[in-house]
Symmetry: C2
Subunit: 377 residues, 2 copies
């Protein structure tokens, strides 16, 4: 159902092709036909129409619950050979599952060559809020049928024990992602883990200060995007500067997710940057630079996306202009030696963010000698 999308971006969550989840809407898909048929066959047993998704009457997880027997029936009819082309990876979590997804995506970065060059697709399936044993076993049985492997992050020790036993019994290769980390921390701190999932009654559920600060940072960052409100630059934790298409906006929102207020100021040739930029502490300002040919290629792609005509395109991605703009930015950087300048050429957003945050935290921590990002919980 998902289309091929090149290789995964290591250390990041590879975005799905935005159009892919909607494939079932394309009435021509043969896969859809099979799916629809299966759905029609099962329709007497299970109501899976949209309105049943409503979580109004429920508390946490989506309310689409059907009995295990019904699901088992659906399952059998739902599996066909086409769907298991390539290898499948199952990720199970009693929470959101983002930890499993993040770790597995990072690990998949080690297999770029077979994934890209051999046309050997890997299908990942993320199951969230697997909170009871029945559901757990059902998913593992399905994994066995598909010859998938299983990664799991389960807070409840009895659930993770069950997962391991079921996988071993059914010959499903499995890895407990969170278990060893939790055990390590428990030994180190000398306290036992709670064993509670986030939704559990015993877990703290109040939104804390950190939550509000993070939301504030995101809102600040969005309002401040693209040089708006230069009078607020002083309130930003981090200020990104650079010419168009150096990735200031996506980088800003990524860093904001981590709780930092980020502003960005575009450098447009011939336009003086706002005076306030030169009044903030230089250590907060990060200049983005990029290789000429790469920037030109990115701009050409951008112009195509926007459907700009050739004249407009040349104005934006012409070699000469791009070079002049980069020179313009370089000169400003040279005049501000206190700013860190980061080369973003071919860097993933996560990588540039890591460089910036390390520099930002650098010197703020006396307990370690090598540059690092330190936090206290």
């Amino acid at each position: 159902m998902m289309n091929q999308q090149g290789h995964p971006e290591p250390d990041s969550e590879p975005p799905p092709s935005p159009s892919s989840p909607r494939t079932p809407k394309k009435k021509v898909s043969s896969k859809l036909n099979r799916w629809s048929m299966g759905r029609a066959l099962r329709s007497g047993a299970v109501k899976i129409d949209r309105p049943t998704h409503r979580t109004d009457n429920n508390n946490d997880a989506p309310s689409r619950q059907v009995t295990t027997n019904e699901e088992a029936d659906r399952k059998t009819s739902a599996i066909d050979s086409d769907d298991v082309a390539g290898k499948s990876i199952y990720m199970l979590s009693d929470g959101t599952g983002w930890t499993a997804e993040h770790s597995v995506n990072a690990a998949l970065g080690q297999f770029e060559d077979p994934l890209v060059n051999r046309g050997f697709p890997v299908n990942t399936h993320l199951f969230s809020w697997v909170e009871d044993e029945e559901k757990l076993l059902e998913i593992i049985k399905q994994a066995a049928k598909q010859k998938a492997m299983c990664f799991y992050t389960l807070a409840n020790p009895s659930m993770s024990k069950s997962a391991k036993e079921a996988c071993d019994q059914l010959g499903v290769l499995s890895v407990d992602i969170l278990g060893p980390i939790i055990q390590g921390i428990a030994s180190h701190l000398g306290v036992s883990p709670s064993g509670l999932t986030r939704g559990a009654a015993g877990r703290l559920k109040t939104l804390n200060d950190a939550y509000f600060k993070r939301i504030e940072a995101i809102e600040f960052t969005i309002k401040q995007d693209d040089g708006t409100l230069p009078e607020n630059l002083g309130k930003a934790d981090i200020i990104l500067v650079g010419v168009s298409r150096t990735g200031k906006t996506p980088l800003s929102t990524y860093i904001a997710q981590k709780g930092y207020k980020v502003a960005n100021v575009p450098f447009v040739m011939g336009v003086e940057p706002p005076k306030t930029l030169f009044e903030v502490e230089p250590r907060r300002v990060f200049g983005l630079k990029i290789q000429l040919v790469v920037l030109q290629a990115i701009r050409r792609t951008r112009a195509k996306t926007l459907g700009v005509d050739t004249v407009g395109e040349n104005r934006y991605s012409g070699f000469d202009l791009v070079r002049k703009e980069l020179d313009f930015a370089s000169k400003i950087y040279a005049k501000n030696p206190g700013w860190a300048v980061i080369d973003v050429t071919n860097k993933a957003i996560e990588e540039t963010a890591a460089v910036i945050l390390r520099l930002y935290h650098d010197g703020s921590d006396s307990s370690t000698s090598v540059p690092c990002i330190s936090k206290r919980f």
Copy 2:
């Protein structure tokens, strides 16, 4: 150096207090004084002024490189008893380190009680781009001195072997986060991992389609924030609706990071939502609801942050008005049974995002019977 910030948000990256990284700027801090002193003492040996951070002449990682001996000197003088109050956790990576950070933060969610109630701080230190053995050993030695534990994600097998050996020798508790996952995938796929870090010469470095789609999604989402450009709603993958302070904006940017175009439309009492909202496929629209008292509390916090006066605050967070606004939203939801309605009360951004994405992908995949998010690599 970091201040206490309640308990970590499980399954999410707990944002540092935005003010904390700047603590060294507070000239009154006794810690700063120690740090400054240490810095002054070391100043003959190592130049750590800002301009050395520049990466202009370099390629990937920040250029703040000093020799190991110099660092060892700095290290010795830099460690003092105060800095190791509480327990330390080291995270080492030959990449960004976000995988280690994400996993460790999720695991720390299992220790909320001791962290919150016992005033027992845990300090995490994230070391990125640990690319040579010397640096690796230096950090582990430092961990041993601080009685820290080590988590590592190292793509190069010889590096991760060295890490394990050094930790064992020095009595440092250590956990290899990525190793077991990579090994599992290697067995499953029947191919060997590349062993290459992202920065390595053999790794693919071109920005792929997925990268551009993700950037496009983020830019779309920001432009579309807060109901702007209702004529573009049809182009969104996901549309969030709800009254003020239900978290539409932070949720939008989080989902956009995963490559989906998200629009959000605020419901303001007495104002008709844009007509285009009712023209898009209902399955793309997600209504956010929240408990009355919780919303009221959030709004009160918000009004304080904004410095709104009492009259303004009452208008925004008054019990009666908040109730009426929620009723107004409920009525619109009732009229649109095809929309999924999500209760966001006390949910972390990551949790609501997981609910939405699971519903969004639901039914788009015939290979599994339990709702899940599937992707193909």
